[in-house]
Amino acid sequence: MGQKITIDPVTRVEGHARVTIQLDDSNQVSQTYLHIDQFRGFEKFSEGRMFFEMPSITPRICGICPVSHHLASAKACDVVAGVEPPRPATLLRQMLHMGQIVQSHALHFFHLASPDLLFGFDADPAIRNVAGLVQVNPDLALKAIRLRKYGQEVIRHLSGRKIHMNWAVPGGVSAPLSEASRDAILGDVEEMIGIAQAGISVAKEWLGANQDVVQRFANFPSMYMGMTNQGALELYDGPVRLIDAQGNQVVEFDGADYLDYVQERTEDWTYLKFPYYKAMGWPEGVYRVAPLARLNIADHITTPLANEELKSFKALAEGPVQATLYYHYARLIEALYGLEQIQVLCHDEDILSEDIRNTRTHITGHGVGVIEAPRGTLWHDYHTDENGVITRVNLIVATGNNNWAMSNAVDMVAKEFVKGSDVTEGMLNRVEAAIRAYDPCLSCSTHAVGQMPLIVEVTDANGERLERFVRN
């Protein structure tokens, strides 16, 4: 009789997720499912609100990537309002976005990924955590916190808040950057670049020394999707490009036309939909997003240090780099780019300008905003009535774009590393690590005490529970 193992919810992942590992009659993994049980209700929650409220409402979807929602929302609202932000406002929004990229990627690498990388998947859970990191490398841990804090400070200097800002508005931003804030941001950036480079060294060293694991761990071909700007890595604005598993361009399109290119599949075992490339259908049209995808798509990076790292990244494979664990490396290259780009923006002659908002608006009734969030391509699509009251909202969130990839990665890792129903801590941790590599954020959820234990259930093929244990 086949058995089913459920990991519920996945640890170190925002929101509510369960993993069910289905065993066959010979106790081998036959199929693994990633279930997202938390229903996203923000679309309905937003109906009836004025469109210009959306940039301050939608950041509450998430405490980790509020800036991404804030900016995607503001871009959608620009279109709804029929207004183009002045150049200084666009520069400031870009800088805010870079702060977000830096803080989010720093948090993920140093506090979620590095315990696995430094101690190994089979290490005692008592040391395989951030406290263990502090014990073996306190300097790195302190630097990690400084980098995360720096990204947060960039956001605060610009928007006045580290989260839940009310700064980007239809047609621009509500406050300029002061000279003192610009100087403060610039004053620390060189040190932060050094920290990002230190992180890259840690990642490259581990990836280089553990090629046997890297090549066996959710290494699979796929298409990749992300923004570019004439071939350069782009995170704020540009056409969306899709490449195939060999690196050939499949299509490039205006993000506003996403419904012509992206379709979502639903499954009855998860609330999170599965986006795919419409023209190729399901499942041939599945793709991956986020750092690995963006670096596979980009021909070059406009900042010198990150571009040098991109060359090293590209040298890893003939075509796209496919192994899931290289997300960690790609993520840090993007953090380096974000820091260099902050430098570039700080030196732009328009960065201190007070020409930051275009107030001449006319309601168009529809607007789409797209941005490359730390976790991938993020769409906000708003419909309004003639007065600007929201009538319909559609969000395709970054994590959703990687839903197929995460599910596939979990399935591959389970089949490779889970042997029989006697599941060990190391096996479970590998399955979780496959999800964590994509840095998913499912946090329209709550965080109240008592909601996040890890429960593993073993059930037979009929759903009858055979065994259950809880990991905290």
């Binding site: 916190i145 979780e432 709550t446 008592g450």
Partner: protein, 174 residues
């Protein structure tokens, strides 16, 4: 020495939760009421702005706890984390309990537990503040910004408790 002859100890109040998920945002409502009781405007609660009602007393509200909070926690004698909890957590409806520094694999996420923040304050900065959890039972975690009536009642009891804590620490707003 400070008010009422008490030895003044610095006090940090950290509320966290999602204010768009009703009772999950209970801490924001609690801190707003506290600031009103202390004679301050609560308008700034809702982001993660730091509010200093008086010397040695800081109030902040966060969506969720993150590692960099450890640096701030390390600067205070006492830290009180304020949250909501779900039924079945084994806690009293109005729960006040000490927090011990603790870390575990699998609890190191985008959202840290208070015990992890305290552990980081100790391991990274050598500080061992007295840390406590003040939590109210949540009844409704759906989308919305108002508290459920049951949790609203508990929230007012939590405010009373915090007012006492502020007083016990010899703190008074200026």
């Amino acid at each position: 020495m400070s008010v009422d002859g008490l030895a003044a100890k610095s006090l940090l109040l950290v509320g966290y939760g999602n204010t768009s998920r009703r009772d999950d945002g209970a801490a924001a409502h609690i801190l707003e009421s506290l600031l009103l009781r202390l004679g301050m405007s609560p308008e700034v609660i809702g982001g993660d702005d730091d509010i200093e009602p008086g010397p040695g007393l800081k109030v902040l509200f966060l969506h969720q706890l993150a590692p960099e909070l450890a640096e701030l926690v390390a600067q205070y004698d006492t830290v009180v984390f304020i949250d909501a909890h779900v039924d079945g957590a084994g806690w009293a409806p109005l729960c006040w309990q000490p927090i011990e520094a603790a870390v575990e694999a699998g609890m190191v996420g985008h959202h840290l537990k208070p015990s992890v923040v305290v552990a980081l304050a100790e391991s990274l900065y050598g500080a061992r503040p007295d840390a406590f959890m003040l939590s109210v039972l949540g009844h409704d975690f759906n989308f919305g910004e108002e508290l459920s009536p049951e949790t609203q009642t508990l929230a007012q009891e939590a405010v009373d408790r915090l007012v006492q804590v502020v007083h016990d620490h010899g703190r008074r707003p200026v």
